[in-house]
Symmetry: C2
Subunit: 359 residues, 2 copies
């Protein structure tokens, strides 16, 4: 991604830590922040300074490296894995990345572990960027076919599955960037994504890249789909079960239902690390419930542009705040991965990832 | 409704005008406001100090009475009708009420028109309250049947179709109040209803009445429905076409799709004045698009409880803000009216309202 004229990644190894964008300050301020301890890495994930399944995984990997670089009396490898693994329950990339670093460093002598963890975290980050780039190319094939029918491409997405949610390129947004860059006339409907409003991150990203877009209330998605104002829906995923059921940001499943009703294709874009063959179906995926104050209090800026917060909902109003929902595989047109697109089914996934057969 | 210990209506004739609750100040402040001129009545509707199809109709009727009580050189009857008719395009009750007052006063000598308009406006208000009360009784029959199966009643609603949206009782909320009052163990899922957050009005209403409820982001509705956490959905309507298609607050149609997918009944509660036999289907219903700043700026209170506003979305972000959507008749289990419940179809509606056959 290009930010302020130079190529950056959404997470970068720094001499004394890992540098991230504090995404809670976007879209009004672009602030880089260096995570220097395990605790800071865990806080960055749980407070959603970083979010998006792939970026959560990479941040957790760097978190292990940070832990192993601290005084070994302070924290053990297993304590670090436990702490980081408990930050967010739904995105499976978190556990995938933690296990990968753990398996890589465990056989090594303690003195070599920190350096190895840094190396593996950087490797996971580089692989993620390469996979997302490839997801863009694979998704472009799908989108080009749709665009050729009408000469334009009106896409709807949900939440943020762009480069802010990954290391670079994004998952759902990678094909959109690829389509725009290839000269297709793209317009994106960006849903606000209450309660955390990650649609604002998507609008900010699309603006940096010059992709035309319009923000809508989440409620307006059904209206636009049923009025045939959308040619395709494409979203990311936090976990894909073995049968193709998809856990993604809450609100996704209603978009999938409306897309199905309107005859609009519904794509899910995600790398291998988001697929969890240990979950037979969406019923097995834990759904995070977050603090009700995410709904009650709204962050923004005042008339002078100063960051602030306002209370939208009285403190004594009971709130239920699930962060994800499950889109049944039957509503998904295709899953777009770095190895190609496939039907949302066990057979479809295994055709692309045959090495998972024995899981 | 009981407010501060006494029975009030959401709009009441006053010696020098019509008294309303300024609903833009709820849930943090309950402020009564007397509309004294045609312009104030038109502003109250367009700025959503009053909202909800039945209340919009009654307020417009009082607006005509206010116009006819002003200096007759200032404004003619037809000018008043035109001004009020242009305030909101979707709710058909507005035009129904204006036409009714116009037809009632037009044959009268000019000197008698103002008094007649006040009389007719009060009559419309009284009829609305009586109809909503009856909608509560009719809807209770439907809800009681559902509650008897499980011993409890978990209802989902959208927007506000309570007494704040009518003169008293409400449309969608009338059966909920009736169920609660009859001893049924009721809990209500209240969706926030971005961008204007009328779910906060519903939560406030339910709290006044002691009905247990939980507020959710609009995005969470699909999750709860598909997880079988809801026994019935019940919403109001802004206009019902002759074929049973329903225009209601944007976001409604995705709830209807999710309810259908989950096998949960989806009820629409509305009086005769919301049914528009001149619209053959939902395609003929105009959908209001409102200012994008409704999304961009959030009203609430600061930490001291003082009313304020914060910018959520940058001013230069393009926004699309449709206020309503169309739920196809095929997704509606029944329409609940003051004359009984019927299938959402031309035949169903005509069985209850045979006098409309020749429209």
């Amino acid at each position: 991604m290009r930010v302020a004229g130079r190529h950056r990644l959404s997470i970068e190894a720094a001499p004394d830590g890992a540098t991230i964008i504090d995404q809670t300050r976007l879209p009004f301020a672009l602030e880089w922040l260096t995570l220097r301890t395990l605790a800071e890495a865990a806080h960055a994930i749980s407070s959603m300074q970083v979010r998006g399944a792939p970026l959560i995984g990479v941040t957790a990997a760097y978190g292990v490296a940070l832990a192993l670089s601290q005084n070994p009396d302070d924290v053990s490898l297993s304590e670090a894995i436990t702490l980081l693994g408990a930050t967010r329950p739904t995105a499976v990339n978190l556990h995938w990345a933690l296990m990968r670093v753990q398996q890589f460093v465990t056989p090594l002598p303690p003195s070599a572990r920190a350096e190895a963890a840094w190396q593996e975290a950087r490797m996971i980050a580089e692989e993620d960027a390469a996979q997302c780039r490839r997801i863009g190319e694979v998704g472009l094939l799908q989108l080009r076919e749709i665009a050729e029918k009408s000469g334009r491409l009106r896409i709807m997405t949900h939440c943020n599955a762009g480069w802010l949610a990954t290391v670079d390129y994004g998952t759902a947004l990678a094909p959109i960037y690829a389509a725009h860059d290839s000269g297709i006339n793209v317009h994106v409907w960006v849903s606000e994504t209450r309660p955390r409003n990650q649609g604002l991150l998507t609008a900010w990203e699309l603006k940096q890249h010059g992709v035309p877009h319009t923000l809508i209330a989440d409620n307006a998605a059904g209206f636009l789909l049923m009025r045939q104002e959308v040619d395709a829906v494409i979203v990311g995923a936090d976990r894909i079960a073995a049968n193709g059921d998809v856990a993604n940001k809450v609100g996704t499943c209603m978009k999938a239902l409306a897309a199905r009703d309107a005859g609009v294709p519904f794509f899910v874009a995600a790398p291998r690390s988001t697929i969890d063959f240990d979950c037979a179906s969406g019923d097995d995926i834990p759904i995070e419930e977050r603090d009700g104050d995410e709904l009650r209090l709204i962050k923004g800026v005042d008339t002078d542009g100063v960051a602030g917060e306002i209370r939208l909902i009285p403190a004594d109003t009971a709130v239920c705040n699930p962060a994800f929902d499950i889109t049944p595989a039957r509503l998904v047109t295709a899953i777009v991965t770095e190895r190609g697109a496939c039907p949302a089914s066990r057979n479809g996934l295994l055709r692309l990832f045959p090495e998972m057969t024995n899981v």
